[in-house]
């Protein structure tokens, strides 16, 4: 039997690499530093809860593979995770800790699809006025949704190709993903949710 623990998450800016800094600036300009700190605190708490719950799971005897949304299949997966963890990402710190306990890190996403998403984000964030940003985001919305489904299908295929009989996968994926919809039928999926601070996500999306 192949098992997958699906961990739906809300990403923090620290998980976002190069697009993090402009996003933080926009957020603090609009909502202030206090709200930003609350946002970070809530997301940090979510990660702490996920970490505790993962530690309690009995997965010690099976081989564990980690899948991470946003992590390209490129041969430099560990370097990327280390870099993003060093920038403060709780998500990537947890991945590092699981790897330290013997889990295998898998490149999860297609580089080309991630680049496409990056270009969309850049197109939105490069607009100077909030109204123009919203207009651009609206205009690109259906294209981004289609792209997200292509990413989901790629991730599901990648899991199918790498997760072996008797192994357990742990998949960290943002709330908008629907990877579970595309997974192979013989993969038994369980979900691990500690806390999802939706209001924080909404504040970010309103930018």
């Amino acid at each position: 039997m192949r098992q997958l623990i699906y961990v739906p998450v809300i990403h923090s800016e620290a998980d976002m690499g190069t697009v993090a800094e402009p996003h933080k600036k926009e957020f603090t300009d609009q909502f202030g530093v206090c709200v930003w700190n609350e946002h970070i605190k809530a997301v940090d708490e979510m990660w702490e809860g996920i970490r505790k719950r993962l530690c309690k799971l009995d997965i010690g005897r099976s081989k564990v593979r980690i899948y991470q949304d946003g992590l390209p299949l490129c041969g430099r997966e560990m370097d990327i995770v280390r870099d993003v963890a060093a920038q403060g990402s709780q998500n990537h710190r947890l991945v590092l800790s699981l790897v330290g306990r013997g889990a295998l890190l898998e490149g999860t996403e297609d580089v080309q699809l991630l680049l496409e998403e990056y270009r969309y984000i850049q197109a939105i964030t490069s607009e100077l006025e909030p109204t123009e940003k919203r207009e651009k985001a609206k205009a690109l919305s259906s294209k981004r949704k289609l792209l997200l489904r292509r990413r989901d299908r790629f991730i599901a295929r990648r899991i199918d190709e790498t997760l072996k009989e008797g192994e357990t996968g742990i998949l960290f994926a943002g709330m908008a993903h629907r990877i579970d919809k595309y997974l192979a039928n013989d993969i038994q999926v369980s979900y691990l949710i500690f806390r999802l601070p939706f209001s924080k996500l909404r504040q970010k999306e309103s930018l």
Partner: protein, 127 residues
């Protein structure tokens, strides 16, 4: 924002309602409980809370249906949806319906207390 925050807990398990009531009353909050969605909606209309804890899996009217009805009224309170299952579909639906937080049972009591204090803190800051 009143001096004492009002918390309403809607769950079909009376034991959980009692536990919430005991803990949050000890924390200094004004707590009321409702067993089931219908009773919950009636209490919301009668005396709107500052924070609503709403269970997803309830007979007759579940938490998501309750949330749909709450969405139709102009609410100014925080909605925390709870589930006993790692139910991602319910989580997505709750997010779409405007829930502010989604938490999964079983709770660690310290985590729960931290969350309540955090939400009350945000309400005070917003007031």
């Amino acid at each position: 924002m009143p001096m004492t925050s009002k918390i309403l807990v809607v769950d079909d398990e009376p034991e959980l309602c009692n536990l919430f009531s005991k803990i949050m009353t000890e924390m200094g909050y004004e707590v009321s409980t409702a067993v089931g969605g219908w009773q919950g909606l009636a209490k919301i209309r009668e005396n709107p809370p500052d924070i609503l804890f709403l269970d997803i899996k309830m007979p007759q009217m579940d938490g998501l249906e309750c949330l749909r009805r709450i969405k139709k009224i102009k609410r100014k309170f925080v909605v925390v949806v709870m589930t006993g299952y790692g139910d991602i579909e319910s989580a997505r639906e709750a997010m779409r319906l405007g829930a502010d937080e989604f938490i999964s049972k079983p709770f660690d009591l310290d985590d729960l207390k931290r969350l309540v204090n955090e939400l009350v803190g945000e309400l005070v800051n917003d007031a």
